[in-house]
Symmetry: C2
């Protein structure tokens, strides 16, 4: 009934996300996006509505992807919950120390958002809470296992892990090397000492 699209939305959002991850929202131009995605301005505009909307889409996908990855790492496997978190943190240290390490769209959105009522702020806040929920789930298991001090406040500790990973992301960005970042991760895991 109508001319079909030449592109797959998912791919376009993904390409756009990479550009945004490198440049940030404000510093990415429509032309950058046109070049990265391969489609024309008007097609971009028809399909998504504009730069900001496209960023929001990419942000949502990035957030889902990140949540999925953490879930995967923390909810499966036969190691104990604490061991799973340990493994995850060490993997994050490596990930964040990759020299091409781009900063996540969530962190970008957090920094570039203006004011509480900004839509970026809403999405990122939800993202933070989602992440904390995932950590919390795993920590609750560990707590039930008796692997955490009895007086542990699980939701707070979950938020602590979100904080330390965000901090490690920034440190990696600033050039802190893999060894140092791994050491930071190990220090962070000291909260588990019973």
């Amino acid at each position: 009934m109508a001319r079909p699209r030449k592109f797959v939305e998912r791919d376009v959002v993904s390409s756009a996300g990479e550009v945004f991850a490198v440049n940030g929202l404000a510093a990415t131009t429509l032309d950058d996006l046109v070049q990265a995605t391969g489609l024309g301005k008007q097609s971009l505009y028809n399909a998504f509505g504009g730069k900001r909307e496209l960023f929001l889409r990419a942000l949502s996908e990035d957030r889902e992807e990140a949540a999925r990855a953490v879930s995967e790492a923390l909810e499966h496997g036969d190691a104990s919950p604490v061991e799973r978190i340990r493994g995850h943190m060490l993997r994050m240290a490596i990930e964040f120390s990759r020299s091409d390490s781009r900063v996540s769209l969530t962190t970008r959105a957090l920094v570039e958002s203006t004011g509480e009522s900004d839509q970026l702020a809403t999405v990122t806040k939800a993202g933070i809470e989602q992440l904390a929920g995932i950590y919390g789930h795993c920590l609750a298991l560990a707590h039930a296992n008796g692997d955490l001090p009895a007086d542990t406040n699980v939701p707070s500790l979950a938020m602590y892990f979100v904080a330390i990973t965000r901090g490690m992301e920034l440190l990696g960005r600033s050039g802190v090397d893999r060894g140092a970042l791994t050491a930071v991760a190990l220090d962070a895991l000291r909260v588990f000492r019973t």
Copy 2:
């Protein structure tokens, strides 16, 4: 011998810094700066050279100020080193949960810098290391006091504190409230349990 300036550099850099802290480098326009500082484009240009240079100046001042504040908190007072760090972390939790909390220029520069060779990256990396040094100094005292586990790697733990404070900054920005942030700070301090 010549017409005197109507402004004080320090004040101008400070005003500019506030604008940058709110909007970021890319999203701040020259006109924003003109309005915030009160002087004309040409004067700005004469005195500093351009937007980016002015940002660099503001960044340096922000970094010095931050380092000074942390030094002040960690190196003086009659509480023990560990207690000083504890107090500092709790104060940071409050600071970062202020709803108008602007994100520090260092974090901004970290996120907005492009590539390792970027001048922004150089300055921020130095800033991170300076901060870690300050934490390290205080931690070394604590270690000598026997307040830290004997096997503590002091420089690494110092970097850990830089990471957790950066993470808390981001969390505060995302709307995490004072109570939650304080709890995170307390969790972070668990590394001190002997």
